[in-house]
């Protein structure tokens, strides 16, 4: 069993090597994409900066606090896009009949889809997020304790799981219909846009939805309290791991979709 896990991991690394080599076949295009990723996310950042020139705090959060929140959500989102892009572009895979190919190979479907696409260009957005994060940290006077470092790591992990779950649901929908799925972007791109502010800024109703519905708040607003020193409750460090439950539900939906595909063949 353990050997099989390592085997899967080394196969995944093999996929990633091929992805990177493929991307490097078009170096100019690759660097332009990285640059455009950087510039695009820069506009969001400027929006934030202008906002805080007029208002000095939003619902009790200062500029540096919001920058921290924004950069962490950006990191979550770009890491998820980097590693789980195969599910984001799954509609094309079904349309081109490539999922049949996945099914005639003796490996898990998920491993093969993850491997089919590793989006290195998202490194642009990730880099920018790291820079903003560093700037935010230097202005927010965070004293780094082991607990806070752990909180940060669990936020990143939880965020990746959350977005992965959303991509899984999106891919699951592809088994039912290939049209009109753009509405799913509200939950991924939208989360990235609105997630630059801690969710509690949007009021109690949104907070409830983002806790018990799609648990965005678990990976930003709650653990952020601990990070910013607004609360001492160490339990907040574990909140992001609640996304595991969310991911399991999404995975069940995905399995349901796969079963439907194998019984309908289209």
């Amino acid at each position: 069993m353990k050997k099989r896990k390592w085997d899967a991991l080394s196969l995944y690394m093999h996929y990633i090597r091929l992805s990177i080599r493929s991307a490097m076949e078009y170096k100019a295009s690759f660097f332009l994409q990285v640059a455009s990723q950087l510039l695009l996310s820069m506009t969001t950042l400027m929006g934030l900066a202008f906002m805080f020139m007029r208002f000095h705090s939003v619902a009790g959060y200062g500029y540096a606090d919001v920058l921290l929140c924004y950069s962490i959500v950006m990191m979550q989102y770009s890491l998820a896009e980097m590693f789980v892009r195969g599910f984001d572009t799954f509609a094309g895979m079904v349309r081109r009949g490539e999922f049949d190919r996945v099914l005639v190979r003796p490996r898990s479907e998920i491993l093969q889809i993850l491997g089919s696409r590793f989006e290195l260009t998202r490194i642009g957005r990730l880099l920018q997020a790291v820079v903003v994060f560093a700037y935010g940290v230097s202005h927010a006077d965070i004293f780094w304790t082991p607990l806070r470092i752990m909180t940060l790591l669990s936020m990143l992990l939880g965020g990746i799981l959350l977005f992965s779950g959303l991509y899984l649901v999106y891919a699951g929908f592809c088994f039912f219909t290939l049209d009109g799925l753009e509405f799913m972007n509200i939950f991924t791109d939208g989360a990235k846009e609105y997630g630059k502010y801690p969710i509690d800024v949007y009021g109690e109703k949104m907070m409830k939805f983002a806790t018990f519905g799609i648990p965005y708040a678990l990976v930003q607003a709650y653990p952020l309290q601990l990070l910013l020193g607004r609360s001492d409750c160490p339990l907040y460090a574990l909140f992001p791991l609640g996304t595991v439950a969310f991911l399991m539900v999404c995975h069940a939906f995905w399995r349901f979709g796969v079963r439907r595909y194998t019984s309908s063949g289209s």
């Binding site: 049949d100 009109g180 753009e182 509405f183 194998t262 019984s263």
Partner: protein
């Protein structure tokens, strides 16, 4: 050995108009039509046979291939391939088969062919020594040595098809499914592909199941032909049986195979 017994499959085909609203609505409540893709299909294929699986478009060919390769679950009936049920033991089953979809590549587009081959080695966990042997043999038989270092996108269709064949055989499958393997190929490549499949069957005893509309493929490769139409097996026999059944004069044989098949389709009302 492949045994199909009383396999049936119906599809629900959704009817709806386009647009996002309709898509959402159809997700909740759909209007359907039922299409009988396979209707009580039974046949047995012994190890080492080469079988041509024929029928007009929409006859049920690809549904059958999908069931045999574990992609599709039938509504009823039994199917065992070397003791395994494809859709129940998918992973175990697909280790033992190779599939070539003539119109879809399994090679990575932008990188040299050999890189795709090495990934396949890892996907199928082929033993390194076995992999080297297979690669050497396939390279020699399909004349790949010049092609292996070339990115797939720079290959001609014929060159690519040779690489696709090799890619499907690196793990020494016992059964090979070929879906229109010569479509769009020039005469030289067609002959090379046929020659190779023949040799594979002769030397390794690989079972070959071939779907194609190309009667020359069938006559060059298949000892046995299974004809399907509207989801039912209509004829299971030799090429001579097709010639006889497709002849305009009773008791005679139609020499032109394309004509024989066309006559047969018309007579059976499946074209």
């Amino acid at each position: 050995m492949i045994v199909m017994e009383h396999i049936s499959k119906r599809y629900k085909v959704a009817r709806r108009s386009g647009g996002a609203g309709a898509a959402m609505k159809s997700f909740l409540r759909r209007e359907h039509e039922w299409v009988q893709a396979l209707d009580d299909v039974s046949f047995t294929i012994r190890d080492g046979e080469m079988v041509g699986y024929m029928g007009p478009n929409g006859a049920g060919k690809s549904s059958t291939i999908k069931i045999l390769s574990g992609i599709l679950t039938p509504d009823s009936g039994r199917c065992t391939i070397d003791g395994l049920t494809p859709w129940k033991n998918r992973i175990e089953h697909v280790k033992r088969i190779g599939v070539v979809f003539g119109q879809r590549s399994q090679l990575w587009w932008d990188i040299p062919v050999i890189d795709s081959f090495e990934l396949l080695r890892d996907i199928y966990s082929v033993d390194p020594a076995q992999y080297r042997r297979n690669l050497e043999e396939l390279t020699a038989l399909l004349q790949l040595s010049e092609l292996l270092k070339t990115p797939t996108r720079q290959l001609s269709l014929g060159q690519r098809m040779r690489c696709e064949l090799a890619a499907s055989l690196l793990h020494s499958p016992r059964i090979l499914f070929l879906d229109e393997p010569t479509i769009g190929l020039d005469a030289v490549s067609k002959l090379a592909v046929r020659e190779f499949i023949h040799r594979l069957n002769r030397e390794h005893g690989t079972t070959v199941i071939l779907t194609t509309h190309d009667m020359q493929d069938i006559s060059a490769l298949a000892q046995r032909v299974i004809l399907i139409g509207r989801g039912k097996i209509l004829l299971d026999g030799s090429l001579d049986d097709i010639r006889r059944a497709g002849s305009e004069n009773p008791g005679a044989q139609e020499e032109d195979l394309d004509r024989a098949v066309a006559n047969l389709y018309r007579r059976l009302g499946i074209s």
